[in-house]
């Protein structure tokens, strides 16, 4: 949900980011630039880790639409984060196919390993995790994805999860 205090975080869009927006908007007919909203929000989230109110307001200004049009989209779709997350968000499929092959146990393991509940951020700011719905990888479950590139990790085991968390921790420290 949108929170008032989030409005305080200042945001600047770099020329590189704006260039990406321009490229997206060129794909639609004249006057239909609003079609670029979802792709542009992905770019903004990839840059800042989440969508703050000032960031969304700037997107609205860029697309020449009302801020509310951005908020209603950002709050409708599950991929957009309306509050800060860990640097790495582990999103584990929690739907039937993956549960048949142990997704629930993997989520329990991640919760224990990271020491935070679903949706919370680890004290070092590195990780958060949550269950998400079917990721269209059901034959290779359990699976998880990590944004902003949404790299998939398939056929998870406790060991492969530990290894992944270890690697990401090392990567963040370098």
């Amino acid at each position: 949900m949108l929170r008032v205090e989030d409005a305080q975080v200042p945001v600047e869009f770099s020329p590189e980011l704006i260039a990406k927006f321009d490229d997206v908007v060129s794909r639609y007919p004249e006057g239909k630039q609003k079609s670029g909203l979802l792709p542009i929000l992905h770019f903004v989230q990839a840059e800042f880790g989440w969508l703050s109110v000032p960031a969304m307001d700037k997107v609205a200004a860029y697309l020449k639409i009302l801020p509310i049009e951005v908020y209603e989209v950002a709050s409708f779709y599950t991929m957009y984060f309306l509050r800060p997350q860990g640097k790495y968000v582990l999103e584990v499929c929690r739907t039937s196919g993956c549960c048949l092959v142990g997704a629930e146990k993997i989520m329990d393991h991640i919760e224990q390993k990271l020491g935070v509940k679903e949706g919370e951020v680890t004290p070092d700011g590195l990780f958060s995790w949550r269950g998400v719905e079917c990721l269209a990888a059901c034959g290779f479950g359990p699976v998880l994805q990590i944004g902003p590139e949404y790299t998939f990790y398939e056929n998870l085991t406790n060991e492969s999860v530990d290894k992944l968390i270890g690697e990401l921790t090392a990567k963040a420290k370098n």
Binding site: C99, E133, A136, G141
Partner: protein, 453 residues
């Protein structure tokens, strides 16, 4: 062994690149269509092929194309539905990952047939890697003159773009998809008007699934009549099946429609049987939205005929003893699977994914989730099963889009076929949280497969 029309070259190293794809005969359908056929002739071949939409509804693709309004001077659009979010379905992601040019080729030929000069592939946002793969494939095809202005000197222009979604199952519903592509919430539109008349930006639009578009390539190459020789009855051609759950060899298989379910499940060429030496308990044959069937009814129809992987055979028995082909998301449940827990899982999914526009769907899915949660956690009542059926009936048919039905059917069918297991959860609440009900009377007839011997 069936013919592979879509996946024949999937294991060729480098098939994801233009050059290797081309060396295997790729883009021949573009050459043939643009140089030797009129758009209407392409539509005609697709009609003859009998191809039915692979996104779930099974509507004949050629017929859908012929409904497209063609007012003079008004642009029309082809939008590919690559939202693939139906639980159990993972064929489109597979196809786009490994053989992206097949989809690009299909998009070019189909856009030509429909007279679209701008087309979009709407890919679910979580498939960022696939979005990158498709963008690269588009750039390659464009560099080789298969996209852009005056393709192959034919005078036909086409721009093709990839659009990411934002994470919402409902955007697989074609009008919600169009709303999303216009930069809005994915709220399905009230129909009519249908997209063929007023779709993207209010213009005539065709929305087709990834696999449907890919199938146009072999149809153009070999002719609609040849395509229609594969398969059985009105289920023509081949179909990609995403096989998951408790199988020895889960994965994506291209089958000739009409393959016996038993062979698909147990032969080594396909799923190889149930994993870990267990027995089959149930199958969801076409993605989470279709009725679940116990083992005995998925292998044989109520008339004791072998059940086939075809639109007609899977639907044999209607909703009482049959199911649907759907999107081909085939989930196998072994004897350790808990049907109550699985039904709760599905109900939670639909509640989470309901767009909230219609009260029967928004409220009904929430109720079903709540009641199933208490049944699964040992606090259910005997009256809960009838309550669930009642709620599911109140949703069914009373909503703007078919998500409501899709939420109702899995619950109603689970209770119809597995009521004993639900009742056991009520009478043995505490025990149900620690152990599984098992197979009971609907135990599978163990496979008697000649090919398996």
């Amino acid at each position: 062994m069936g013919r592979k029309l879509l996946l024949e070259h999937i294991n060729v190293p480098g098939i994801n690149t233009f050059d290797v794809y081309r060396s295997k005969g790729g883009y021949a359908a573009v050459e043939k269509a643009l140089k030797t056929m009129s758009p209407d002739e392409v539509v005609e071949e697709v009609k003859k092929s009998g191809l039915r939409g692979r996104g779930g509804a099974g509507f004949p693709t050629g017929m859908k194309w012929s409904f497209l309004a063609k007012p003079e001077g008004v642009p029309r659009y082809l939008v590919c539905n690559a939202d693939e979010s139906e639980p159990g379905t993972f064929k489109d992601r597979y196809l786009m990952t490994y053989i992206p040019h097949l989809l690009i080729e299909g998009m070019i030929v189909s856009s030509f047939a429909l007279g679209a000069n701008t087309s979009y592939i709407y890919v679910r946002g979580e498939m960022m890697p696939q979005i990158r793969i498709l963008e690269k494939a588009i750039a390659e095809a464009k560099a080789k003159g298969f996209l852009g202005k005056n393709i192959l000197g034919s005078g036909y222009d086409l721009e093709l773009y990839v659009q990411p979604g934002g994470g919402a199952y409902i955007c697989g519903e074609e009008t919600a998809l169009l709303e999303s592509l216009e930069g809005k919430r994915g709220n399905p539109r009230i129909k009519p008007p249908f997209p063929a008349i007023a779709g993207l930006y209010g213009r005539p639009t065709v929305v087709n699934n990834v696999e449907s578009i890919a199938a146009v390539v072999p149809i153009v190459n070999e002719g609609g009549d040849e395509y229609a020789k594969l398969g059985i009855g009105r289920s023509t051609g081949t179909k990609l099946i995403s096989a998951g759950g408790n199988l020895k060899k889960p994965g994506v298989y291209e089958i000739d429609l009409g393959l016996p379910v038993e062979e698909f499940l147990y032969s080594d060429e396909y799923c190889g049987g149930i994993a870990n030496g267990k027995r089959l308990k149930a199958v969801v044959a076409g993605g989470s939205s279709v009725p679940i069937l116990p083992a005995n009814l998925i292998l044989k129809t109520i008339n004791n005929e072998p059940r086939l992987m075809s639109y007609e055979s899977l639907a044999d028995g209607g909703f009482i003893t049959g199911t649907m082909m759907g999107s081909g998301g085939f989930i196998a449940y072994d004897e350790d699977a808990c049907i109550v827990r699985n039904t709760w899982n599905f109900a939670r999914f639909y509640h989470h994914e309901s767009c909230g526009q219609c009260s029967p769907c928004r409220e009904g899915t929430g109720w079903m989730e709540k009641v199933l949660h208490r049944l699964e956690h040992g606090h259910g009542k005997m009256s809960d099963m009838d309550l669930l059926v009642d709620v599911s009936k109140k949703i069914e048919g009373n909503t703007i889009c078919p998500l409501g039905d899709a939420a109702a059917w899995p619950v109603a069918s689970a209770i119809r076929h597995f009521r004993d297991e639900f009742e056991w959860h009520v009478t043995n609440g505490a025990e149900a949280t620690t152990r599984n009900y098992g197979l009971a009377h609907y135990a599978d007839p163990l496979p008697k497969l000649e090919t398996a011997g």
